[in-house]
């Protein structure tokens, strides 16, 4: 038993789930998947579950579901088969066997997939920038207003520069902001959304900036792109 404990400890994180564990037990004990000795496999399976509990490892509930299934099959196999004249009853193991075969098939398919020439692992395409650690603009994805709102929210969360003091704040109008943005973007052609804000900004700055951008997008004077959800939003001059 101690040897077995060692084995199981090593393998704890290896199983993807209860079916994976069953396949492992079948293979390891060189059992025939089409004729699983249900009593034996149940015992092995429960020993593993027990081990997990001893080790205080959190078990996915699915492991227990399959344990129950195994016990049910075992019970059904103990029930004497009806008299021979009647139609032969279905093997209680059939559904489980089919599931295991199906799962094994996909495990193999996954291996096969992993063996193919994977992009950015085995094969590469043109156009990777040396600073690909930063935003990679070669993979632009058009952002929609929702993305803009998400970016807006994250800026709002960061806008902590609001001190409680009542001062006459210089109000920038949306029209002013539009001119400001167009002037800046006219020079550099593209800008990150965050770069449009002053270093210290207030909620009002963000609101006005977002409104200005929405307006410019509506007028199709700007184009807005984002590589991935929650990524930097880039604004481009629309030619």
């Amino acid at each position: 038993m101690t040897v077995m404990e060692e084995d199981y400890k090593v393998r704890l994180d290896v199983f993807e789930g209860p079916l994976d564990l069953l396949l492992f037990l079948i293979k390891r004990n060189e059992l025939d998947i089409y004729d699983i000795p249900i009593s034996f496999i149940t015992e092995q399976y429960l020993a593993y579950i027990g081990m997990m509990q001893v080790l205080n490892v959190e078990l996915a509930s699915e492991f227990l579901v399959i344990a129950a299934t195994l016990l049910e099959i075992k019970a059904r196999m103990l029930i004497p088969t009806p008299s021979e004249q009647e139609e032969e009853a279905e093997d209680p193991r059939l559904e489980l066997t089919n599931r295991l075969l199906e799962y094994q098939r996909f495990k193999n398919a996954a291996l096969q997939l992993n063996d193919s020439a994977m992009l950015y692992r085995d094969t590469f395409i043109r156009g990777m920038h040396e600073d690909s650690g930063n935003e990679d603009l070669s993979l632009n994805i058009d952002a929609d207003p929702y993305d803009l709102l998400v970016a807006f929210k994250s800026l709002m969360d960061r806008a902590r520069g609001e001190k409680i003091a009542y001062m006459a704040v210089e109000r920038i109008s949306v029209a002013q902001r539009i001119n400001d943005i167009m002037e800046r973007i006219g020079i550099v052609k593209s800008m990150a959304f965050d770069a449009l804000l002053p270093r210290e900004y207030t909620r009002m700055d963000i609101v006005v900036t977002v409104l200005a951008i929405l307006e410019l997008l509506r007028l199709r004077m700007l184009r807005c792109e984002q590589k991935e959800p929650f990524g930097t939003i880039w604004l481009f001059m629309q030619e």
Partner: protein
């Protein structure tokens, strides 16, 4: 126009395109000239053959229903030394889920869970975020569950022409049977190791 020149044009078009270039777009570009009865597919075939020699580092691959220039897999280690690419990695659960979706699409979350025997919610989300799978509709079942399918990006990632280019599950069974035979022929490996468990 002479054949050589047409091939050169096609090569330039494929090179300039940042996604796999479909034949219909090449046809469109070439439609302004008289190409006689030359088929673009034949020219591409010829171009592809030129890249197949060892003296070139790139190859012409048929991916996602288009054509793309890609570095040869046997040179991957060299390209990686440039340190400019983020390596692409997929975990075992992600690969499993992806192959289930690929072969059984359109498929629901519950059906994936049933095949894998575990909840696949987290994996599905990761695959959606990486745009390797997408929601393709709803199934006419109580609760109208969403169904998932693979994407263009999936085909590009694995260099597949289309979904039909996946090896049939039947073939995979044969391959794995053959591998098992090989395994048996070899001296028994000490158990357990990660490698053996991965090959089950």
């Amino acid at each position: 126009m002479e054949r050589e020149k047409l091939i050169a044009i096609i090569e330039a078009l494929i090179f300039a395109s940042d996604r796999p270039l479909k034949v219909k777009y090449i046809d469109q570009v070439l439609s302004i000239i008289d190409t006689g009865d030359v088929r673009v597919e034949d020219l591409i075939g010829e171009l592809r053959a030129r890249y197949s020699t060892d003296s070139t580092g790139i190859e012409l691959a048929e991916v996602a229903d288009g054509w793309q220039l890609r570095t040869k897999p046997q040179l991957a280690d060299w390209v990686k030394r440039l340190n400019i690419v983020k390596p692409s990695r997929l975990s075992t659960p992600a690969l499993e889920t992806l192959s289930i979706v690929a072969y059984r699409q359109p498929i629901t979350h519950a059906e994936i869970d049933y095949v894998r025997g575990v909840d696949s919610g987290g994996v599905i989300k990761t695959l959606l975020d990486r745009r390797l799978i997408k929601i393709v509709g709803k199934k006419e079942l109580p609760g109208r569950p969403l169904v998932y399918g693979t994407t263009q990006e999936f085909l590009e990632l694995f260099g597949l022409k289309d979904i039909a280019a996946l090896p049939s599950l039947q073939d995979i069974k044969q391959i794995s049977a053959a591998e098992e035979e090989l395994e048996k022929a070899q001296p028994e490996l000490p158990l357990p190791t990660h490698e053996t468990s991965d090959e089950e």
